[in-house]
């Protein structure tokens, strides 16, 4: 749910990074945080366990500049990927404007990717959204891993609606901004419809 404030001429959008455990959702956000201009970024909030596994969510507010005289701000969230945190994942999708699915390219994780997309569809539905129409991007992360499956094979398994598909190595920043941009583009174009 986009929040458009005519008084302060601001528009806030919520983007959620989704995907199986250890696929690199937090790494994506961390890289954006480290690269962003200090004036543009807010604090990175991480609710994580002692071993740095996301417990509830990570949150990063980003000021993007202005469009048509409105200040555009993105609120980036990650969900906890581990299967047993499903209740938390559902809560974080509440009111989101777009979803980035981070898939783990390593072959042994392919089943976890498929399960996580199915879980995303269910949780979106419970929040009143349709996975087939919400702004959505598929990121193939960890392309540098020796056990990475070929991109076309992953496409066959994971891509289902002609969504933008971006290859990434999030810990080096490859594909991270492209992914965010592909999602932002869909959200802003959606706003065109009013």
């Amino acid at each position: 749910m986009t929040f458009i404030n005519y008084a302060s001429r601001e528009i806030n959008c919520k983007i959620v990074y989704y995907g199986p455990g250890l696929c690199g959702k937090t790494t994506n956000i961390q890289w954006i945080y480290e690269q962003a201009n200090p004036e543009k970024k807010g604090k990175l909030v991480s609710l994580a366990t002692e071993t740095d596994r996301t417990l509830f969510f990570d949150f990063l507010p980003l000021d993007m500049g202005t469009v048509k005289g409105f200040k555009v701000r993105f609120h980036l969230y990650t969900v906890p990927g581990q299967v047993f945190y499903d209740a938390s994942r559902k809560l974080i999708l509440r009111g989101c404007d777009g979803v980035i699915f981070v898939a783990d390219s390593q072959r042994p994780r392919m089943e976890a990717n498929i399960e996580s997309i199915a879980n995303l569809a269910t949780n979106l539905k419970e929040n009143g959204f349709d996975i087939r129409s919400i702004p959505y991007v598929l990121q193939l992360n960890k392309r540098d891993m020796p056990s990475a499956a070929p991109a076309d094979e992953m496409e066959r398994l994971l891509r289902f609606r002609n969504e933008p598909m971006i290859e990434a190595v999030a810990n080096r920043g490859t594909g991270v901004i492209e992914t965010l941009k592909a999602c932002a583009r869909q959200i802003l174009l959606e706003l065109q419809k009013g």
Binding site: M1, T2, F3, I4, N5, Y6, A7, S8, N12, K14, G42, K43, V45, L47, F56, F57, F59, P61, M64, G65, V67, K68, G69, F70, V72, H75, Y77, A87, S88, L91, I92, R94, G95, C96, N127, G128, F129, D130, S133, I177, K181, A184, R185, L188, L189, L191, Q192, K193, G194
Partner: protein, 165 residues
């Protein structure tokens, strides 16, 4: 789809701002925030510079969402009030209508009883404005949309510019 954007105009925003400004003074609170349930800050009053408002908004919404989940687990509709007591400062969090959260931060200059009393009155007033915003949004999402999105003419170039290309 259940997607209904929250669009707020100057007049509504001013009315909300007036109410929470008054609440902050009447309750002798340090800061009052109005946040939406999705984690976005709507308005604030008091010494807001001392606090990271954006993080506060998202964490409050997360807190309320988690508590909502707990309520449902034990068969309650919601817990409409949360109170966190600190050594110096306290947080009073309450739900306003379907989509608002009111956060009051206060210290020993005020009391829980006073805050609760003032919050009750302010909540009713805030609720009325939220209702108005919702009714307007619904009528605008119907066929006779007089609301024209300011983004109706957004271009790919505009989007590229946001990313500094």
């Amino acid at each position: 789809m259940a997607k209904l954007d929250l669009v707020m105009y100057e007049e509504e925003y001013k009315a909300l701002q007036d109410i929470i400004g008054r609440l902050q003074r009447d309750a002798q609170a340090k800061v009052v925030f109005l946040v939406d349930k999705n984690g976005q800050q709507i308005a604030a009053a008091g010494d807001v510079r001392s606090i990271d408002a954006t993080s506060l908004a998202s964490l409050t919404a997360g807190n309320v969402a988690a508590t909502d989940g707990l309520a449902k687990l034990i068969g309650e509709k919601e817990f409409s009030l949360l109170f966190h007591e600190g050594e110096k400062d306290n947080l009073h969090i309450s739900i306003v209508g379907k989509r608002g959260i009111l956060v009051v931060i206060f210290d020993q200059n005020s009391s829980l009883a006073l805050v609760r009393l003032r919050v009750k009155k302010a909540s009713r007033e805030l609720q009325e404005i939220f209702d108005k915003v919702e009714i307007r949004a619904q009528s605008e999402s119907g066929g006779s949309a007089r609301f024209e999105s300011p983004f109706s003419e957004i271009t790919d170039e505009d989007i590229d510019k946001l990313f500094g290309d």
